[in-house]
Amino acid sequence: MPLETLERVGLEQSEEKDFLWTLNFGPQHPATHTTLRLILTLDGETIVKAVPDIGYLHSGFEKLGEHLDFNQYVTIVDRMNYISPVANEIAWHHAVEKLLGIEITPRCKYIRTIFAELMRIHDHLLCCGAAALDLGGFTAFLYAFNQREKIYDISETASGQRFHPSYTRVGGLLRDIDDDWIAQVRAFVRDFPKAHADVCRLLNRNRIFIDRTRGIGILSKEEAINWSCTGPIARASGVTRDLRKDEPYLAYPDLDFKVICAVTGDCMSRYLVRMDEMLESIKIIEQAIENLPSGPINVDVNDKVVVPNQQAVYRSIEGLIQHFELFMTNRQWQTPVDEVYGAIESPNGELGFYVVADGTGVAYRARTRPPSFIHFAVFPLLMVGHQVSDVVAVLGSLNIIAAELDR
């Protein structure tokens, strides 16, 4: 940043304080999980001030949202929190279906719930694995990635692509799941607790891990609320808020699970909250897959929001007209001229979309409420008084995803 900006953020060197020095951390650094930049003012090894500089991955997602229709934008939204892709799609279509006033079918709700919880495990595995990797524990990272490969396989069976499946559509899903998928999910539910126990054995009572994360980066409950934190970070500080219980959506009202909270608010409690949330997610997936309702996955074709299936399009005139109506750019969905905010509990926090619609099938404004962006603002607060090596521990525990941070 230019020299004048340095003075405004208080990084200038003054006469009495010329023992302070400035360290540039990033944007290319292994521990800044891609493209984050921190300008640290240090007194020896102790951090006096930390100024984040972001925007190194700002790709204009929200501008794209104003030019792509509701089913095309889901491919872009997928690429926001790229370590839990389907969760973003679920959030986006949750907001769009709220706008259009559509109630999705029970089978679709259950499948989306299963995917949301699989993605929660996916995200937490990477967060905990990368936290261990940054602190030097490479084995935990490899164990975590091994389980993530299984979730990639499940994703690939459902939609064809392991990563960024673009699986949800307005009013339903891309295609229905089959028995192969159900078998894979059951196998995952059966085998995951053992792998989880392996990672716990490696890290939970590991002297080095505890020393590096206990008491580091403490976030109090009042600060968490004041700085708009949500998700595992807020829950580890004592804020008992989880949108799955407070504002239930999808199949969560029917399922039995606990919300994991802690009181300390340091890196260790954030790690423990995530580890336990993974076990709760396994419980949810198990209940959902055993009680998966049968029936259609898309809403009724006559509501005119869902593309009819291929046979109907080729063999009936109504199907053909319906297909045309949804793809011709001057027709598409008939949306109300109004705006709505819809949020879900993504693995990182409250992920919401504020969709302003102007009657056409393309959003007028598609704003993402990005949890990573809001959580990274807390970072300077957590770092004061700690040492340079704690930057890595705190950053790993906050789970900052650069694409959601910058959009």
Binding site: M1, P2, T5, R8, V9, I54, G55, H58, G60, E62, K63, L64, E66, H67, K98, L99, G101, I225, N226, W227, S228, C229, T230, V239, R241, D246, E247, P336, V337, D338, E339, V340, Y341, A343, E350, G352, Y354, V356, D358, G359, Y364, R365, R367, R369, F373, I374, F376, A377, D406, R407
Partner: protein
């Protein structure tokens, strides 16, 4: 405090006609003028218990059907004790769109207001450090405005090229 009780208290405090409301799906909105914005938000935080600022963002209503003002800014507040949600909306216009900053009420507004400034050019008075957050500091335009083209105006091509021999 629930939305209806908060609304009743707001109307008692600020007068029934300065607080317009609207509802859509499950969003309950309160529309205020930009000069009454800070007292309204302060009252909602201190007297009605909305302690979490969930979202602060804006939109450019230039091409919106039946829009009267250009920049809309919304604040989504949540009460963590009973889970109530309220959306407070205000509008500002060109030239010189300005709003009071709510950093003193919720520190989470820090970066969210910087982003609205970066993308739309709305200035927040009282913000401790209002500068661009996502675009480079030298960028001159406000990208999310409707009159800025999606592909930009050539800024993304304006860099020196390295050939293999120079490497």
């Amino acid at each position: 405090m629930t939305y209806d009780e908060s609304l009743k208290q707001l109307r008692e405090r600020f007068g029934a006609d300065s607080v317009a409301t609207s509802e859509f799906r499950d969003n309950r909105r309160v529309h205020v003028a930009s000069d009454k914005l800070f007292p309204t938000l302060k009252y909602l935080k201190e007297a009605c218990g909305f302690d979490l600022l969930a979202e602060l963002s804006g939109a450019d209503y230039l091409h919106y059907p039946d829009a009267k003002d250009r920049y809309g800014v919304w604040y989504i507040l949540v009460n963590t004790n009973d889970g109530a949600r309220i959306v407070v909306k205000t509008f500002v216009n060109d030239p010189d769109p300005r709003l009071p900053s709510v950093y003193s009420l919720w520190h989470g507004a820090d970066w969210m207001e910087r982003e609205v400034f970066d993308m739309y050019g709305v200035v927040f008075e009282g913000h401790p450090d209002l500068r661009r957050i996502l675009m480079p500091e030298e960028f001159t335009a406000y990208p999310l405005r409707k009159d800025y083209p999606m592909r930009g105006r050539g800024e993304r091509h304006n860099f020196p090229e390295l050939t293999r021999a120079e490497g």
